[in-house]
């Protein structure tokens, strides 16, 4: 059956299509569900890996295309005015996350801006499942999901960390929106179902809502 959900472009099918159902689930709490889960779709995800010798040249190219200079240190995140995030996920390696689905345009623009600079520009838009978790007990769920320290003193938003999430390797991006701390998880697409099951089973004890 074609996926007619408005969140996906014609023909696109999320890896969570058969797993995700909107609603409120789990334990009933007086305060209501203490965890909110949602999937982010329609993103452009492009990874840029520059050669160390050329790093000063990759920066301006990324800035030209995204509007923000790529952060130099692994674990740093910078956000452009239009919400595009640039995460440094390793030495000379950045993941660019843009909020509209236009991977071809972005890869082309980056390649042009880079010119002769040696840097690999790879579209990963289809290769990741992206899930957001927020709410008073989001941190408690994350404590079950990952072994790293997520305390705001250690990971002040915005920031990122590539680590183990539910036993698979993925990226945790931390944002602060309306004074709320939000975790955005990027996992390889093939793990999407597994991640969703893990998060929902863990969050059930706190009550969780799934939003579109």
């Amino acid at each position: 059956m074609p996926d007619n959900s408005p969140k996906t472009l014609p023909g696109r099918r999320s890896a969570l299509a058969s797993h995700l159902r909107p609603g409120v689930f789990g334990a009933q709490c007086e305060r209501g569900p203490l965890v909110t889960l949602s999937e982010r779709t329609g993103l452009t995800l492009v990874q840029v890996t520059a050669r160390a010798a050329d790093k000063r040249k990759a920066g301006p190219a990324i800035k030209k295309v995204t509007g923000v200079s790529p952060p130099p240190k692994t674990g740093e995140t910078r956000i452009a005015d239009d919400g595009t995030a640039v995460h440094c996920i390793g030495p000379e390696r950045w993941l660019i996350v843009a909020e509209t689905a236009a991977p071809d345009a972005m890869t082309a623009a980056l390649r042009e801006a880079l010119g002769n600079t040696t840097a690999a520009v790879v579209d990963l838009s289809s290769g990741r499942a992206v899930v957001r978790i927020s709410g008073p007990k989001a941190a408690a769920v994350m404590m079950a999901a990952t072994p790293i320290d997520l305390h705001p003193d250690v990971l002040p938003a915005p920031a990122c960390a590539h680590t183990l999430i539910a036993q698979a390797a993925g990226l945790i991006a931390v944002f602060e929106e309306a004074e709320e701390r939000i975790f955005e998880l990027h996992l390889q697409r093939s793990y999407a179902g597994h991640l969703w099951e893990f998060l929902t089973e863990t969050a059930a004890q706190y009550g969780y809502s799934v939003t579109d």
Partner: protein
């Protein structure tokens, strides 16, 4: 469990890394003897005490790093990138750590 202070990502559990063997051996050149190649692949020292080894941060930044670890106490003496001089850090008399 062992914690490794990845030079790029910071302190992480060993479960995020993959062990990559002795970090002191050098790969022979193309003209080396078969014996030299055989030693490279099969022969290893088994030191009791500080050991330089390679680990890959597979769940993190995907970088290969050098680690000086005490094989007896699991104390992590020093961690660095492939370009860092780890030997110097082992030899440093001011480094802390526990006597075996």
């Amino acid at each position: 469990m062992i914690r490794l202070d990845c030079p790029h990502c910071g302190p992480r559990d060993q479960t995020e890394f993959n062990y990559g063997g002795d970090g002191r051996i050098e790969r022979p050149g193309d003209d080396a003897s078969l014996t030299a190649w055989n030693d490279f692949v099969y022969t290893r020292d088994n030191p009791r005490g500080p050991h330089v080894e390679l680990w890959q941060h597979t769940a993190g930044c995907r970088q290969w790093i050098k680690v000086a670890r005490d094989t007896l106490t699991h104390e992590i003496i020093a961690v660095g990138t492939m370009g860092d001089d780890i030997e110097a850090k082992i030899a440093d008399p001011d480094r802390g750590g526990v006597e075996a």
